[in-house]
């Protein structure tokens, strides 16, 4: 399968030099499909690449959009901190995950990111107080039926998403990074125990101590999120996040040495195996030889690996007509089912998917009606 133009440019931004006008058009289009359109202007700028005038206009538009997202997300984190501070501090620290963490810790994946929800990790015992504090400050449960509510609270590892009534922003409150029904149980206490405090950026005063997962845990979480969640709309973006995290943390002494032992401790060797394998294959992420060697033992048998390679490498391409072949849709579906299966025992899975297809899909469709 030929790698998409976008993948080539992510791997080596210099490939954008001398592109024909129509190829620029394709690059921008693929970047949008992959959710990486905000990152594109920054990645080209960092590589000293200057685009011709017509595409450059688009890069400027995208830069404006990305900066807006950044400011908006910073404000959101500030307001969440205020809500929790008022609520009595049961969560002790505001432990940010994913996008919000990258932003507040000034990490490379934040650059040009178009942010979605805020994800935070709190102790399970603090959930009621945290939910109360957020509701008091204007967040509300989105319209989920009783089934979906149970899905989140009992089977998943988070509260149902809470949406802010005025700002329309969403927060996902997790108490673990994998649901209780999954086979693997990376211990959230260990994750919180290793969390690193971060400073509030200048000028944005915060009323609550901020923290993120440790670098190794952040990488493991990213790997887990990518390969276990099953929804591949932004597979390439998530892989690129991982690539950038490794580029940044790889420079820090002790990072690589501690990564595999930590993965073993948290029972996350298999996701790490896949993550590093596909980041290296698609994006050329440099992985030390001894790390790859240690992880090979955690990989699946050769036959299964061949199947997985086929599935993942296809589904990690941008979801764009120029990148699809007949099997991409199937690949994605298989991985979606697998993702949900890994999170729930087979019996529960069927029921949930059944319910989702026949009850939850209608409202989403109405919301998409053209004006």
């Amino acid at each position: 399968m030929k790698p998409a133009l976008l993948v080539k440019v992510l791997r080596d931004p210099q490939r954008a030099s001398g592109l024909a006008p129509r190829a620029w058009e394709l690059l921008l289009s693929q970047a949008r499909a992959a959710g990486l359109h905000g990152a594109l202007p920054f990645l080209l700028e960092d590589a000293g690449m200057e685009a011709p005038p017509a595409p450059r206009r688009h890069l400027d538009w995208l830069r404006t959009e990305a900066l807006r997202h950044r400011d908006s997300m910073r404000n959101e984190v500030r307001l969440i901190a205020r809500a929790l501070a008022d609520g009595g501090r049961d969560a002790e620290q505001l432990l940010l995950l994913k996008g919000a963490a990258y932003l507040m810790a000034n990490l490379p994946p934040a650059r040009g990111r178009l942010f979605g929800d805020v994800d935070i990790l709190v102790p399970k015992r603090a959930l009621p107080a945290v939910e109360r504090a957020l509701v008091l400050h204007g967040w509300t449960g989105t319209k989920l039926d009783a089934y979906d509510q149970r899905y989140y609270r009992e089977w998943m590892h988070e509260l149902p998403p809470l949406e802010h009534m005025q700002r329309g922003t969403t927060i996902d409150v997790h108490h673990a990074i994998l649901p209780e029904t999954a086979g693997l149980r990376p211990d959230p206490e260990r994750l919180r125990g290793s969390a690193v405090p971060i400073a509030w950026p200048d000028g944005v005063q915060g009323e609550y101590p901020l923290s993120t997962l440790s670098p190794q845990d952040m990488v493991l979480h990213s790997a887990l999120h990518l390969f276990w969640d099953g929804e591949f709309d932004h597979g390439l973006r998530d892989l690129y996040d991982l690539h950038r995290l490794l580029a940044e943390f790889g420079k820090r002494p002790g990072f690589w040495a501690g990564l595999v032992p930590r993965a073993a401790e948290l029972e996350l060797m298999r996701p790490l195996f896949y993550a590093l394998r596909y980041a290296a294959a698609l994006l050329g992420t440099p992985v030390p030889e001894d790390v790859s060697r240690m992880l090979r033992r955690a990989g699946p048998n050769r036959l299964l690996l061949r199947v997985m390679d086929g599935l993942f490498l296809r589904s990690l391409q941008p979801m764009h007509p120029s990148c699809s072949d007949a099997s991409s849709g199937i690949a994605r579906f298989v991985l979606y089912v697998r993702g949900n299966w890994l999170r729930m025992p087979p019996v529960l899975l069927a029921r949930h998917l059944f319910h989702k297809a026949f009850i939850s899909s209608r409202p989403a469709e109405e919301a998409r009606t053209a004006e």
């Binding site: 949008r32 499909a33 017509a54 206009r57 959009e65 807006r68 007509p321 053209a370």
Partner: protein
């Protein structure tokens, strides 16, 4: 640059089939792919005076309007807008392809072009000064816009006012004017020489028809204009024509209500809008008789600044 009218019907359909039709509307080019007859007919009727660019040039937007596939195509054929693999809108009945095209063209601009402050408004120019008519649907803005365009005002846009962040000038888009239900009859009577697309019934807004923009306006699509008036129109049957001043601060806030990307632009948006409001007079406008309305605006434009 060649105009769309210079293409034969066969060549137009071929380019649409292959995704090689690149149409220029003001500052933007759009690559259009479609296998739907209504789309190519609509383009031929309504975009005859618009320039077409080379198939290999860089197009700002990609609009794929295709018959949706699957079992539906035989029972209730539909058109699906596909934006590079993304389908942001639900499919519509095939007969509504032309209005869908117009909605999609608006969506492309308002969702991406963030070097402009984009306001939901009509824009027309006369004697070197531009009139901005912001209005929520149902206010009679489009009827007024169509009438003014047919009476000597240069049309810049019917739906989207593009305020350039760099210098505050308004950039023309010059696309067809979308008219609904009774407005269609009114404008046909008002301007018998006007050129229309085929009306389409049964949409969520009722019957929709499009008025082709005057060729003279299209020819001047690269000439920006300076805004002088912001007028909030309201059609009210039987009402006397009246123009009431609105304070600049109120005009400012009401323009925000009609803006697409004000929030996205942040402080820049604030500055651009403030500069626009500095240079404009804001008013509320109530009317019932089109000829009186035109007379009032003509009078306004004749007055010394």
């Amino acid at each position: 640059m060649p105009l769309l009218a210079s293409l034969t019907h066969a060549e137009l359909r071929r380019r649409l089939h292959e995704g090689e039709l690149v149409l220029r509307t003001g500052p933007f080019t759009t690559r259009i792919r479609s296998d739907i007859a209504q789309v190519s007919d609509g383009l031929a009727r309504l975009y005859a005076a618009h320039p077409v660019e080379d198939a290999d040039s860089f197009a700002d937007f990609q609009v794929n309007l295709l018959r949706s596939s699957g079992w539906r195509r035989w029972i209730r054929p539909q058109v699906l807008f596909d934006h590079g693999g993304n389908a942001p809108f639900t499919p519509l009945p095939l007969g509504q392809s032309q209005p869908m095209f117009e909605w999609v063209m608006n969506w492309c601009v308002s969702n991406h072009a963030h070097s402009y402050l984009i306001v939901h408004a009509a824009v027309l120019e006369r004697n070197g000064r531009a009139l901005i008519l912001p209005a929520p649907p149902g206010s009679g803005k489009s009827t007024l816009c169509a009438a003014l365009a047919m009476r000597g005002w240069r049309l810049l846009s019917d739906e989207l006012a593009l305020v350039r962040c760099a210098d505050g000038q308004l950039a023309p888009l010059v696309r067809p004017v979308s008219l609904k239900n009774k407005s269609l009859d009114v404008i046909r009577a008002f301007a018998p020489e006007a050129r229309f697309g085929l009306p389409v019934g049964g949409t969520i807004k009722g019957t929709i028809g499009h008025l082709a923009p005057p060729a003279a306006s299209v020819a001047r699509a690269d000439e920006p204009a300076l805004a002088a008036w912001v007028v909030f129109p309201r059609f009210e049957a039987g009402a006397a024509t009246s123009l009431t001043p609105v304070s600049k601060a109120q005009t400012f806030m009401r323009l925000i209500d009609n803006a697409f990307n004000y929030a996205l632009l942040g402080e820049r948006g604030f500055e651009v809008l403030a500069r626009l409001v500095d240079d404009c007079e804001g008013s509320d406008f109530v009317y019932s008789r089109l000829d009186e309305a035109i007379a009032l605006f003509d009078g306004m434009s004749a007055e010394a600044p």
